[in-house]
Amino acid sequence: MATKRVLIIDDEPGIRKIVEIALNAIAGWQVLVAASGQEGLEIAAAEQPDAILLDVMMPGVDGIATFQQLQSNSVLRSIPVILLTAKAQPNEQHQFTELPIAGVITKPFKAPDLVKQMQSLLNW
């Protein structure tokens, strides 16, 4: 079984680092990091990860726009995307429900929970 490769797109360096360490340590997945939507698209196109963790609140091109860019790319659209958001209220999250994403994970999260949720959402 090939190692799963996950791309995390988040503007917070701390979160990127933690997630990278966590996913690596807990699940043994290989983690690619991107600090912006733009960078994320480039890396996704180049590396073709198996899944993408996408932070919603980013300056510049935010998560939703990045997601739409991914969707518009015929190759990239097939990569499952999980949104990371600090918005926990249902009324805040309704805009996600219409998107063809794999799932939503709210911040903050514990590292093991993150992995568990990912495994569940991605069927890994």
């Binding site: 701390g14 979160i15 933690i18 360490i21 807990i26 980013m58 300056p59 903050p108 999260f109 514990k110």
Partner: protein, 1302 residues
């Protein structure tokens, strides 16, 4: 041929020689000639045969044979033949030699023949040539250019005038023969030919010995050596005299021809055979006035106009060789595009051919016949005019010979002659057409005319058909040049009518003369000078003057009118009338001195027949006048008598008139009184009846008739008391009434009328028909009763009214008593006013005892409150004047006790005499209570109004249908409308359509439910459609006592700010929650890894994780602090503790604290400040400085400088703090917004650098709380400068002084 023997011997000699040679050679060369012995002998044979003939050949053969035999055959040197071979050889040799001989001699013979032949031929040909040349007069020459020798043929010599054989062959001789002029030319020609290797050909003249000049043509050709140099030239010469002559002649004739053409006065054009123009002569140019140059390329065969005229075929024939002479043509060069004037021309085409008949050229001569043509045309036109004139001429115009033969005649003439056609008439003699009586005269007349004497003759003519006419002929001689006999032109007029007229005139003149003479009226005529021209018999008879005495008697006027004054007056009157007047009477003095009166009518002869100026017709009216005078007198007498009679009659008439007039007046008066009586009688509403003394009704007026109609009973002729209208019961009563009346009593009674059937007559509205009857007897002077009058007045209405009045009065009384309202009744005329007891009680008067108190109008007035009185009286007056104006007013009256009571007064004028009010009645009511209530209501309303007007919440009221009736100012402010705009459904325009829909839908529903309805978020719109304010609207229905909906009342609360605040809060919470969660995420994730022991804390990764978590904690702490700070500042929980502080100290502290960070970032801090004392919270100020410095350092790159300074602002007493960096700068659109919460230029940057996004917001809050301003100026890529001011006004006002050192 004497050389023949000579030749023969040579021939033989040759044969011998050749044989010898051959032998020699053969012997010499014997070794080489094995087998070929005979070769040389053969040669010898050939040679000798060739040159000598056959015999020498034979000789040679024999000799050779011998030689061979001797020398070459065995045995040698013997003539015997040894071997047969040799025999053979020799035999062959002989044979061959003979053959050679034969052949050779044949050859020679034929050669000889040929030579002979050719010689013969040559001789022949040279003979021929010579003959030909001679015939052609050609000579031949041959010039050896090397030696210079020339050989001429004899002909040549002859041609040059030399005898044959005399030419010495020298060039000079040749040259001498030439004509001097031509020598050079010839030499040149020769040179040219020689140089150019061309054929030499030249014409020149030679002079013979006899000095005759001849033309020679020389031709020749040179032959050249290999170097190209001419060595020899030979050729021919030919006498070309004829040709030259012909040429010269031709040239001369050409020249002559050309000059002819040039000078010809006729325009000439020369064309080549193809039609192209060769030349034109000057005459041509002149005629056409066109330059020749214009004709470049002109080809006559292509001239379109010629073709158009139709002359092209003729032209073509000319070019085919025919001479063509055409009649005049009109040619317009413009048609062909040439300039030049159009002309009439007669073209003449003459082809010129050479001797072979070949066309050389065609000459076109055009004769300009324009003038002629124009003359012709003019002549033709004239002729046509003339013809037209003659044809139209109504008089006969004819030309006849002196013998009377008709040569020409016009249509009018034909009519007179009565010929049917011109052909019939011409050639006829016209003398028979003249009446015999005049014929002789006519003949003479014609003769005279023919001889030159023009004249006029009148005669009678007879037409061919027999009509007789009077004719007047004017004849003139006509010179026709080609005529043999003289001709006469005669214009003959039919004067039959004239003649007749003349005859008639003469007759009438005669008649007239007779009349004039005989008529019994005077007739005279005067000329301009008042000389008498005409004086008829009657004139003579009357005046006694005869015509002879009068006519041309210039003094006659004085004799007629001796009275100067009279005459002058008369003549002036005549002149005034222009001598035209009728029936004026003048007195004429007759010859015998008597005077007669003549009535004259004068006519000024308008037709001015020569000599007559004025006609006069007069009638002797003397007798008449006398008679008239007598008659007048008689008349006068008669009139007088008549007048007298008339006067008498007049008087009588007048008296009669007066009498009549009086009577008439009386009658009229009587009539009038009758009418009046009947008017009254008939029209009266009174029922009037007249009764006889016995009670019979003899007359009734209209009213009973009406009644009759109702009642159905007739009155006249009946006994009064028997009338059924009285009713049975009262009939008996009526008898008694009559009796009483007869007795002298005036009886009055009221009675109800009955119908015929005995029932009471009823009014339409119930009630009985009642009459008030009065019966009275009218007596005459003597006291006798003449008749009785019965008058009846219908009082049914009155009765009814009375009853009603009574009832109402009773009711009123009860009502008044019940209601405690007072009643008043004002007799306007007298001024008395009745007041009911209640009124008086009202005023405090004790009326218990009953009785009335009458207060008159004046007194009533005095009771009114002085404030109310003016307008009470005004109202009253208004109503009095116009009943339409109601009198209903409230005012105060004074009670007996002196207090004021409010009463409500209503009144109405009940009796008017036409417009004048006589009586007014009214009621009044104590309304004190009501007034009190009203006042209370008003006060309450005022309260309400004040409340709503100043309410901070909008208030509105609508009617039951939802139409707005009131909005308070606040509502208007929220909605953006004025009070007027909101009224009705105006307010709805200002509400967002969607919200409006909800409102309206709901409204009706809720109205039913009677509940308060609340609508949140109703949007009021600006005129441009944007949202003005958000409002919360509450609506409450209002009902009256019965529960019927009367109105709606509502409130409008402006919730815009609240919504905004809510929205801001929501945003803030959203942002903050994200800001809080972000560090928490890294913290929790990190710690979870450690807690779950997934990562060991001591490991490298573990340390990284711990670091991240720690940073997250720091960030969270900062964030929480800032938020709390901000909130506390905003909510005023933190009070600024202002105290006096020194700016220099503050700055120093700030620098201190930031120095470390600055150094770490490689940024230099530069301070320039002065020391100021200000009243501020030093900690907070420090916070601001540190915040700004921190930002400046964060956003500056290493090596740049951050400047901090303080200065006093010149115009506003404030300190200006400046923090300037050289960082990236801030975009213009963010210069304001960065001071908002969580607004950062680029969020990620600041967060990376540890910012919370609240720093500037806090700064702003602090600065604003100090009543200062904070702002930023920035240029991208260059840096930003943050400014904030702290006013020092407070410092001054607090008595603290700010020290200013610059």
């Amino acid at each position: 041929m004497s050389s023949i023997p000579y030749r023969r011997s040579i021939a033989y000699g040759l044969s011998l020689a050749s044989t010898g040679i051959a032998l020699f050679l053969s012997l010499w060369l014997q070794p080489f000639l094995e087998g070929a012995i005979g070769s040389f002998f053969y040669i010898a044979v050939i040679v000798s045969t060739w040159y000598g003939g056959i015999r020498p050949g034979i000789v040679t053969t024999a000799l050779s044979f011998l030689a061979i035999n001797y020398y070459f055959t065995l045995p040698v040197h013997q003539f015997s033949i040894g071997t047969s071979g040799d025999v053979a050889r020799l035999g062959i040799f002989l044979l061959v030699s003979f053959v050679i001989n034969a052949l050779n001699s044949d050859l020679r013979r034929s050669q000889h023949k040929v030579t002979q032949l050719s010689q013969q031929l040559l001789a022949e040909s040279s003979d021929r040539l010579r003959m030909a040349l001679t015939a052609a007069q050609m000579g031949m020459w041959d010039w050896n250019l090397v030696t210079g020798e020339i050989v001429w043929s004899p002909e040549h010599e002859q041609l040059f005038g030399l005898a044959p054989g005399t030419f010495d062959g020298r060039y000079e001789t040749f040259a001498a023969c030439l004509h001097p002029t031509d020598r050079d030319g010839l030499t040149q020609a020769v040179q040219v030919a020689l140089e150019n290797h061309t054929v030499y050909q030249h014409e020149f003249r030679v002079i013979w010995a006899d000095n005759s000049v001849h033309w020679i043509e020389g031709r020749g050709q040179a032959s050249y050596d290999h170097a190209g140099q001419p060595v020899r030239m030979s050729g021919t010469v030919m006498n070309i005299d004829h040709r030259k002559q012909a040429e010269i002649a031709w040239i001369q004739s050409e020249q002559r021809f050309r000059s002819l053409v040039e000078q010809s006065p006729l325009a000439t054009m020369r064309f080549a055979a193809d039609g192209s123009l060769l030349s034109v002569n000057p005459a041509w140019e002149e005629m056409w006035r066109s330059p020749v140059a214009a004709l470049a390329g002109y080809n006559i065969l292509q001239d379109h106009q010629i073709e158009a005229i139709g002359d092209l075929p003729a032209t073509q024939r000319a070019f085919a060789g025919e001479v063509i002479d055409l009649p005049a043509r009109f040619y317009n060069p413009a048609m062909m595009g040439h300039s030049g004037c159009a002309r009439w021309v007669e073209p003449f085409l003459y082809p010129i051919k050479d001797h072979t008949g070949q066309l050389l050229e065609v000459v076109l001569v055009t004769k300009d016949v324009t003038d002629r043509k124009q003359a012709e045309i003019a002549l033709m036109r004239n002729e046509q005019h003339l013809r037209a004139i003659l044809d139209a001429e109504p008089e006969c115009v004819k030309v006849i010979t002196v013998d009377g033969i008709l040569r020409s005649i016009n249509p009018a003439g034909l009519a007179i002659v009565e010929a049917d056609s011109t052909e019939q008439a011409l050639g006829q003699c016209i003398f028979p057409l003249v009446d015999p009586a005049y014929r002789q005269e006519f003949l003479e007349f014609t003769q005279a005319a023919a001889n030159g004497k023009a004249g006029i003759l009148e005669f009678e003519g007879i037409g061919l058909k027999g009509t007789r006419r009077w004719l007047e002929s004017h004849a003139v001689p006509l010179n026709l040049p080609e005529a043999t006999t003289p001709h006469v032109l005669a214009v003959t007029r039919d004067v039959t009518d004239r003649k007749r007229a003349e005859a008639a005139l003469r007759q009438s003149e005669e008649r007239l003369r007779q009349i004039l003479q005989d008529m019994p009226v005077m007739l005279d005529a005067f000329d301009e000078n008042w000389n008498v021209i005409v004086w008829n018999q009657e004139c003579e008879r009357v005046t006694g003057f005869s015509a002879a005495e009068v006519i041309q008697n210039s003094t006659i006027m004085e004799q007629f009118y001796p009275n100067v004054a009279y005459r002058e007056q008369m003549m002036a009157a005549w002149a005034a009338q222009g001598n035209n007047y009728r029936n004026w009477e003048w007195d004429v003095t007759c010859k015998d001195g008597s005077t007669r009166t003549v009535c004259w009518s004068n006519i000024s002869d308008q037709f001015a027949v020569a000599g007559w100026a004025t006609w006069g017709i007069g009638v002797d009216v003397t007798d008449r006048k006398r008679a008239e005078a007598e008659l007048k007198q008689l008349n006068a007498e008669l009139e007088q008598r008549v007048a007298e009679r008339t006067a008498a009659l007049s008087e009588a008439n007048d008296r009669l008139q007066t009498e009549l007039f009086r009577r008439e007046r009386m009658e009229r008066a009587l009539q009038e009184s009758k009418l009046k009586f009947h008017a009254v009688f008939d029209q009266s509403r009174l029922f009037i009846g007249l009764l006889q003394p016995d009670g019979t009704v003899f007359e009734v007026n209209q009213r009973p008739a009406e009644l009759t109609a109702i009642v159905g009973e007739r009155f006249v002729g009946r006994l009064f008391w028997e009338l059924a209208i009285w009713g049975q019961k009262q009939q008996s009563q009526m008898k008694a009434v009559i009796d009483r009346a007869l007795a002298g009593e005036v009886v009055r009674l009221e009675i109800n009328l009955h119908a015929q059937d005995g029932s009471l007559l009823q009014m339409p509205d119930g009630g009985f028909v009642t009459h008030d009857i009065r019966v009275k007897a009218v007596k005459n002077a003597a006291g006798q009763v003449m008749f009785l009058t019965v008058e009846g007045w219908d009082i049914s209405d009155l009765k009814q009214t009375q009853a009603a009045l009574q009832a109402s009065e009773e009711r009123l009384q009860f009502a008044l008593e019940a209601s405690r309202d007072g009643l008043w009744d004002w007799n306007i005329e007298t001024g008395e006013v009745y007041h009911s007891p209640q009124y008086l009680e009202l005023l405090g008067y004790d009326m218990r005892g009953g009785g009335e108190l009458s207060i008159n109008a004046q007194q009533w007035e005095q009771l009114i409150h002085p404030e109310d009185k003016p307008w009470v009286l005004e109202h009253l007056k208004a109503h009095l004047e116009d009943a339409a104006v109601q009198y209903a007013i409230d005012y105060r009256v004074r009670t007996q006790a002196g207090a004021w009571k409010w009463i409500s007064d209503h009144g109405k004028v009940v009796v008017r005499d036409q417009q004048k009010p006589l009586r007014m009645t009214g009621t009044y009511r104590d309304i004190t209570d009501r007034k009190r209530a009203e006042a209370a209501l008003q006060a309450s309303e005022a309260k309400f109004r004040t409340l709503t007007e100043s309410s901070p919440i909008g208030v509105f009221m609508t009617d039951a249908k939802g139409q707005n009736i009131y909005t308070n100012p606040r509502a208007q402010e929220i909605g953006g409308y004025s009070s007027a705009e909101a009224l009705g459904s105006g307010w709805s325009r200002f509400v967002h359509p969607d919200d409006l829909q909800i409102l309206l839908d709901d409204w009706t529903d809720k109205a039913v439910e009677q509940q308060i309805s609340v609508y949140d978020g109703v949007r009021y719109l600006n005129p441009d459609g944007t949202v003005r304010r958000y409002a919360r609207v509450q609506i409450v229905p209002l009902s009256d006592a019965d529960g019927t909906l009367t109105a709606y009342m509502g409130t409008i609360e402006d919730i815009t700010e609240r919504l905004a605040i809510d929205q801001m809060k929501a945003e803030f919470i959203s942002v903050v929650s994200h800001e809080l969660r972000t560090p928490l995420t890294s913290m929790q994730a990190a710690l979870s890894l450690l807690v779950e022991k997934i990562i060991a804390p001591a490991s490298e990764e573990g340390e990284t994780i711990i670091q991240i978590a720690s940073e997250g904690v720091d960030r969270l702490v900062r964030l929480v602090n800032d938020i709390l700070d901000l909130e506390r500042l905003e909510f005023g929980k933190i009070r600024l503790e202002k105290r006096l502080c020194n700016t220099a100290d503050l700055i120093a502290t700030a620098i201190d604290q930031m120095q470390g960070m600055a150094t770490q970032a490689g940024v230099a801090l530069d301070v320039s400040s002065s020391s100021f004392e200000i009243n501020a919270d030093p900690d907070r100020l420090l916070q601001v400085l540190i915040n700004l410095l921190s930002n400046a350092i964060k956003f500056s790159s290493s090596g740049s400088t951050v400047e901090l300074s303080v200065a006093l602002q010149p115009h506003s007493a404030a300190l200006l703090f400046t923090v300037k960096d050289q960082g990236r700068g801030i975009p213009t659109d963010k210069l304001e917004s960065i001071f908002e919460r969580f607004q950062q230029v680029d969020a990620s940057d600041s967060r990376e650098k540890g910012g919370t996004g609240l720093g500037l917001a806090i700064c702003r809050n602090i600065v604003q709380q100090h009543k200062g301003n904070i702002w930023v100026e920035s240029v991208l890529e260059q840096g930003s400068t943050f400014y904030f001011t702290i006013p020092i006004v407070e410092a001054l006002s607090n008595g603290n002084k700010a020290s200013v050192d610059n």
